[in-house]
Each structure stands twice: as structure tokens, then as C-alpha cells.
Amino acid sequence: MINTIWKIVIREWKRVFRLPVHYWVLILMPPLLFCFYSYIYINPKLENLPIAVWDEDQSPVSRELTFLLEQTATIHITHQVNSLPELQSLIKRGAVLAAVHFPANMYHSLQTRHPATITLYTNGAALVPAKLIYKDAAQVIIMGGAGVTLQKFVKSGMNSPKAMALVQPIKLTAYTLYNADYNYQNYLAPGLITVGLQMLIIMVSVLLLNYELKTNTMVELLEISNNNAFAVIIGKTLAHIGIAWLNFILIVAVVLPLFEISVPGTTLKFFLLYNLLSLACIGIGMLVSSIFNDTMLATDIALFYTSPAFVFSGFTFPRWAMPWYDQYYSQIMPYTHFLDGFFKIYYMNLPLHYAFAEIFSLLLFIGLTFPLSIIFFRLKIKKIIANENQSMA
């Protein structure tokens, strides 16, 4: 049996390097795709975004705040506007992404103990820049407000520590763990790479059995395996796990270090989870391949199943915010479970036992799909043998 499986493994490797539908997807595409995803975010933070200032006050305070806004990482003041329609027009033309409005008589109001309001307008249709601009602008303006309050207290004769405590009675110290400066490359590249991997594996796995019919090699395969469905499926799985390991080496030894996005101390845990994802994906692909003889149909099913995995997994938009039916649907994708575990063992670098629930889910996929694939393929073999006997008779 071991000999037979080994023969199938070698034969499958040869097929991977010979058939374009295999080597394009498993060998040529991964380095291109993974480097591309990492390269997109080579400038991992958004900086110097074009902002307008609408200064109706023209006072020392508004000029000081404008100066402080310009000092932040995201804000770069490029335009001066004089009205809301003018600002809207600039946004619609794509010339600016936001504007800060200082109202007329702001300085005077502050001096005469009347509150004034500074308004930040952002283009909500450009969500990522809008959120980043808000973060920096809010910090400057809130600090500016605190400065005004502090001056008032100090002028009234209050001592500095007391005044400080009243300016900010409750100081919030915020720790953004595991990606302190919201680095988009560290966040998105590993996720995109792994979702690409599951897609690559499934897209090829759906062709593992039925493509033998297309290349007229099924009889040869059955001869090597002595008509043993178990040997065929195990042999092909081992061969493709070997290819998956090649891609793992590509990721952890080339792509992640090249783009400096590795998380030290996570390789072994990542390797374990990666193997489970690969096996689950091969299992699903093998099952589809054992049921459908039509390779185009199998590929269409794979495409429909794998392409939404990224959005359904909750990577960018959390699953709890999705309607209940989509939350259920996301559970039938191995990538969802992989990602939950990947967050823990890779992004958060936690011990492996925190990902046991996700490991169990991936094992369920493996435990269900492989036996079913063997059953379906065994039925197919019987049919093929019956057809062979009939044609010989």
C-alpha cells in the first residue's frame, strides 16, 4: 500500500509540473500574487492627505491650530476655501478629502467666555482617509480646547496640577495592541496572502480526480492504485500537501521577510494551522472532484465557493455585524475558522491552545470531506470498471 501511495505521489507531482491548469495556479501564481498583495501596502500608512482650511476667523488661535494640524502625519493643508459649496465642489473634484472650519469671531468668543465650535468636514465616501483624518484632527482640536480651558484656570489663579486635573478630569490611556500604529501592510498582507492560498488550493483540488478523465489517464491511475480509491486520494493529498509546503516556505522565508511583515515566534504555530487549512481545502476540492466529472462545472463551483471567503470571514467587516444567514454561511468555509485561529496565533502571537476551537473546526472539515470523497470516488471506480468490462465484452 505504501509503495502504491508513493507512486501516486510521484505521479501527481509530475502532473503538477506538466499540466498548465496545475502549475499556473500552484507554482507560478503564488509568488506573483503574494508579492503583489504585500507591495500594494509598501507605504503602510496614509500620510499628507490633502485638506482644505475654511478660516472665517483669521485669528492667532485659528492660525496656531492650522499650524498644529499641518504638523500631524495625515494632514497636509493644500487649499483655502470660503464656503461650504466651495468645499463640496473641491471634494467632488477629488482635490481635497476634508476641511476644517474655524467660525467667524471664534477668538472673540473665547475671550468673552462664549463657546465656539470648530467643525471638521470629511468625505465619508472615502472611508479610510476620513477615519484617519478625523483621528488626527480631533486630537489637535480637543487639545486646543483643553489648552484654552487650562489658560482660563491658570489666569484665575489655580495652581497648575489642579488646573490640569480639571482640564482633563478623566485621562484616557489607550493601548492599541498587536498593531499599535495601524500599519495596513502588517494587517492586510498576511490576510490577503492566506485567503489567496485557500483559493489556489481549492481551485486546483476540484480538478484532482475529474481532470484524469479529461487527460484520459484515469485508467492508468486506477492500474497504479489497483482500483483503490483510498490510495488515490491519500497519494494525491500527500502530493498536494508537499506543494502547499513549498508555498509555505515561499511565504515565511521569502515574502514576509522581504516586505518585513513577519511576526517573530509564530512560524511553527502558523505551519500547523496552515496544514489544517490546506488539508481542509484539499478535502473540499477532492469531494467536488469526486462528485462532478465536468471540470468546468467543478471550477465554477470552486470559484463561487472560494471568492467570497475573504469578506465572509470577517477580516475587514466583523461577522457579528452581518445578518444571521451570512454568519451561518461563513461557517461552511474553512477560511473563516482558519482566520479566527490565525488572528490568535499569528497577529496576537498567543499560545496554540487559544486556537483549539478553530483547530477542531478545521479537523471537522477534514474528517467529513475525505471519507465522503473516498466513498464517491469508489462508486466512480466501480462505474468505470463496469464500463470497461462492458466495452471489452
Partner: protein, 389 residues
């Protein structure tokens, strides 16, 4: 166009329809996938924004102030507080993925505030997931400022000021945030229009490239070119017309039915949106024919094209600003019709802009149309030579 050419043009449209009906993969991609994907992907973001992000709270103070703080945080639509016994407990909840962070209220918090000493509260947010952590951060910051304002209000009232005067003193400089064109800065309202446009593009490209690859796979390029009277322009637009009509109908469907179902506003002129979409589809057709013509195998074509969706979307400037892309990717992005189209489409649909305000992008799209038309005509000529020899 001469009558005979019109005849050939119509014949090519009918030929394409008959080819698609016979090919179940093309049938699925062109007739089922666009509608199915539009509802399928659309449903994910139907709630538009996340709510009730779980945040653990460790209240070591057990005072009126700490309870007021927790109540205010819990009252935010975005946050759902979960009680934790101590820091370890909260940390463990975060590690297990049950909460997205924790808020720590130290013992003696109220005492410090009342005695005008600096008092600290600590928020630890799991930034491994960007959206929940940034929402937690802005929500808790807002509450800390509000409660802080309340403390100052009490101080002024104790100093003898009446409520109205005290209110004026509490926040001398206020900050007002007004996001335009997506007032709630919701993820769904931002992403959905782009996703629908991408579904339109990718299903068209998958179908059209698949159809061209199938022509080569089944050695029917000769029939295609001969039906067009060996005229590359008729071959290009005869085949492409079928896709243009079909996908223009889908665009209409998305802009009416899907936009309504997903409660997405269209702020600009509907006519201008249709005009730009028509030009966009017209540009995609020669581009699809050009790409498909390099494949001899329909299966391989579908496989490769399946991996184009995310890379295309990520470099169009929709989710990540175009100017922040590395220069070579900016050049590549400029070669995609999606880039100028999404820029105009966003301005029209979401910002209520006009075509004139994005005139540069319109010219960009027209240049790409001419560019891909030229290349695809050349390629059809090449294929004709190969097959007709």
C-alpha cells in the same frame, strides 16, 4: 455601417447567444453569477455598520462615577459592555476572541476626580482587527470627554455659577464632526457601491475572456471571424455587443433594484451615471477580448481570471488612495478602466458630483477605450491570420 455589415453584426450577436446557451460555464457566469453575487455580497453589508462591539470592563472602583462611566459607554450603540472580574479575566476574554478589548477603571478613581487629582482610565483595544478597535477607541474617548465635561460643570456650579453660565465655561472650544456623503461613516455605505461595480466588471470579464478562450479551445475562431466578414471591427463589436447589452441591463438592475434593496442613495444624475457606465462597459469589452485572446484553454482562463478580482479592486484607489500606491502600481492602475470609472462613479453616486467635475477621468476612460480597441483589433487580426492560413 453598410446593410451587409449590420446583418453580420446581428448574426454575431445571435451566434454569441447560442454559444452561451450551449456552454453551461458561460451561462452560469453571465446569467446567474451577476445577480446572485450582487445579492450575496450585498447582504453582508446590509446593516452598513457594526454595532455592539464587545468590550470587557474591569471596574475596581465600584463608585457612582465608575458606574456612570460604564453606563455611558454601554449606552453607545457601538459598544456592548461585558463585565470582567479582574484584569486577567478581561485579558483571557480578549485572547479567546469573546471581547475586542477591555476598559480598566482603577480603584480610587472617583476619589481622585473629586479631590482634583489626575485620574486615569485604561483602554486596551485589540488592533489586530482594525474596524472594531478604532470604533472602541473613538467611542470610549467620546465618553471620557463627556464625563470629564460633567465634572467641570459640577466644579463651576460649586463655584456659584448657574447652569447656563457653567455650561458656557465647560467646553469653550467644541469639536463638531460632520462627515459628508456618508453621514454615519458606515463601512457598508462606503463599500457597497464599489462592490456592485466590481461584480459587474468581473462577471463581464470572466464571461467574455472565457468566451474568447473557448473560441480558441474549440477552434471556432475561424467561424467567428468569417461570420464578421473578416472585418476585425465587426468581429470585435459584434461579439462585444451581446455583452454590452446584457451588462448594461445588469447595471440598470443594480442601480435600481439593488441600490433600493440596500438603501443606497444615488446623489448625482442618474443619466450621467448610465452614460459613464456605458462608456466603462465599452472599454471593458476590447480589454476582455484582448485578455481572453491570450488563452488557448477556457479552464485555465477561468482559473487565472478568478485571481484578478482582489488585485484589481485593491489598486483602483477605491479602498486605498491611489497616491499612496507605489509608483509602478499607479501605472498599472492607470491602465485599468476600473480606476477612472470608480473615481467618476463615486463622485456621481455617493458625492452628488457631475461628469464635468471629473472630466479628467472621463478623458482617461476614453483614452483607455481607444487603447484597448486598437490592441484588440490588432489581436483579432493576428488570430485571423493564424486561423485563416
Amino acid at each position: 455601417m453598410k446593410t451587409s455589415q449590420w446583418h453580420k453584426f446581428i448574426q454575431l450577436i445571435l451566434r454569441e447567444a447560442s454559444m452561451i446557451i450551449k456552454d453551461h460555464s458561460l451561462l452560469l457566469t453571465l446569467l446567474v453569477a451577476p445577480i446572485l453575487y450582487a445579492f450575496f455580497y450585498g447582504s453582508i453589508y446590509i446593516n452598513k455598520e457594526e454595532e455592539e462591539v464587545q468590550l470587557a470592563i474591569v471596574d475596581m472602583d465600584h463608585s457612582d462615577l465608575s458606574r456612570q462611566l460604564s453606563d455611558q459607554v454601554n449606552n453607545l450603540q457601538i459598544i456592548d459592555l461585558v463585565s470582567a472580574a479582574n484584569l486577567q479575566d478581561a485579558q483571557e476574554m480578549m485572547y479567546k476572541g469573546k471581547v475586542q478589548g477591555f476598559l480598566y477603571l482603577q480603584s480610587g478613581l472617583e476619589k481622585k476626580v473629586l479631590s482634583l487629582q489626575p485620574a486615569n482610565i485604561v483602554l486596551a483595544a485589540n488592533a489586530a482587527r482594525f474596524l472594531p478597535s478604532s470604533d472602541l477607541l473613538s467611542g470610549v474617548t467620546q465618553v471620557a470627554l463627556t464625563v470629564g465635561g460633567g465634572v467641570r460643570l459640577k466644579y463651576y456650579e460649586m463655584q456659584g455659577l448657574n447652569e447656563a453660565s457653567a455650561m458656557k465655561e465647560v467646553m469653550p472650544l467644541n469639536f463638531d464632526y460632520r462627515p459628508l456623503f456618508n453621514e454615519r461613516v458606515s463601512y457598508g455605505a462606503f463599500l457597497l457601491p464599489g462592490i456592485l461595480a466590481l461584480i459587474l466588471q468581473q462577471t463581464l470579464l470572466l464571461g467574455l475572456t472565457g468566451s474568447i478562450a473557448a473560441e480558441r479551445d474549440k477552434s471556432s475562431v475561424k467561424t467567428w471571424v468569417e461570420t464578421a466578414g473578416r472585418n476585425p471591427s465587426v468581429a470585435l463589436y459584434g461579439k462585444g455587443a451581446f455583452y454590452w447589452i446584457l451588462f448594461f441591463c445588469y447595471a440598470l438592475f443594480f442601480l435600481t433594484v439593488n441600490f433600493n434593496a440596500l438603501k443606497l442613495p444615488i446623489r448625482g444624475s442618474f443619466f450621467e451615471i448610465l452614460l459613464v457606465t456605458a462608456l466603462f462597459l465599452l472599454t471593458l469589452i476590447p480589454m476582455g477580448i484582448l485578455i481572453g485572446s491570450w488563452f488557448k484553454n477556457q479552464l485555465l482562463c477561468v482559473q487565472i481570471m478568478a485571481f484578478s478580482t482582489y488585485p484589481i479592486f485593491l489598486i483602483t484607489g477605491y479602498s486605498w488612495p491611489y497616491e499612496s500606491l507605489p509608483l509602478p502600481l499607479q501605472w498599472l492602475s492607470a491602465l485599468l478602466p476600473t480606476t477612472p470609472f470608480l473615481s467618476i462613479y463615486t463622485a456621481l453616486v455617493q458625492e452628488g458630483g457631475t461628469i464635468y467635475q471629473r472630466f479628467g477621468d472621463v478623458v482617461h476612460l476614453m483614452i483607455l477605450w481607444l487603447f484597448y480597441t486598437g490592441l484588440s483589433l490588432w489581436r483579432i487580426r493576428e488570430l485571423s491570420k493564424q486561423t485563416l492560413i
